[in-house]
Symmetry: C2
Subunit: 91 residues, 2 copies
């Protein structure tokens, strides 16, 4: 596998590791999203002091309004975050 | 770094490795896009037999019409491709 293919596979693996914990195995419940954010993106929740951060994030990401985050909704978030990181390191 | 952070960093690194080769260091020229596709996503170009694949891809990805692919345009492509891979492995 190339580096880019490996990175894509890692994102799929991370999502599956958390989405499989409870309920629909193909999407993240609020609890699964919280666990993923706390363990995989610890800096993200810390930067927002608001206790409702996970609730707000779920609402923002949940494009189809089913109160869960599916892979398509998740990858849009990862892409936006990666783009923000890229911009940050360019400055 | 967590697995998700590592994957995001790898995508940023891959883009920079190719975008820095010629012209604007922050975006992929057609030649750089071709090199990236051939080395990082070898299966993608093979599946399209059309010789104009790179031209068509550049046109598709170049949202701002400057004839190059910047990081924001690239990450949208990576996200769409990752989503397609995820769907494929689910089926």
């Amino acid at each position: 596998m190339t580096e880019l293919e490996t990175a894509m596979g890692m994102i799929i693996d991370v999502f599956a590791r958390y989405s499989g914990a409870e309920g629909n195995k193909q999407s993240l419940t609020k609890g699964e999203l919280k666990a993923l954010m706390e363990k995989e993106l610890p800096g993200f929740l810390q930067s927002g002091r608001d206790k409702d951060t996970v609730d707000k994030l779920l609402k923002d990401l949940d494009a189809n309004g089913d109160a869960e985050v599916d892979f398509n909704e998740f990858i849009v978030f990862v892409a936006a975050l990666t783009s923000a990181c890229h911009k940050y390191f360019q400055a």
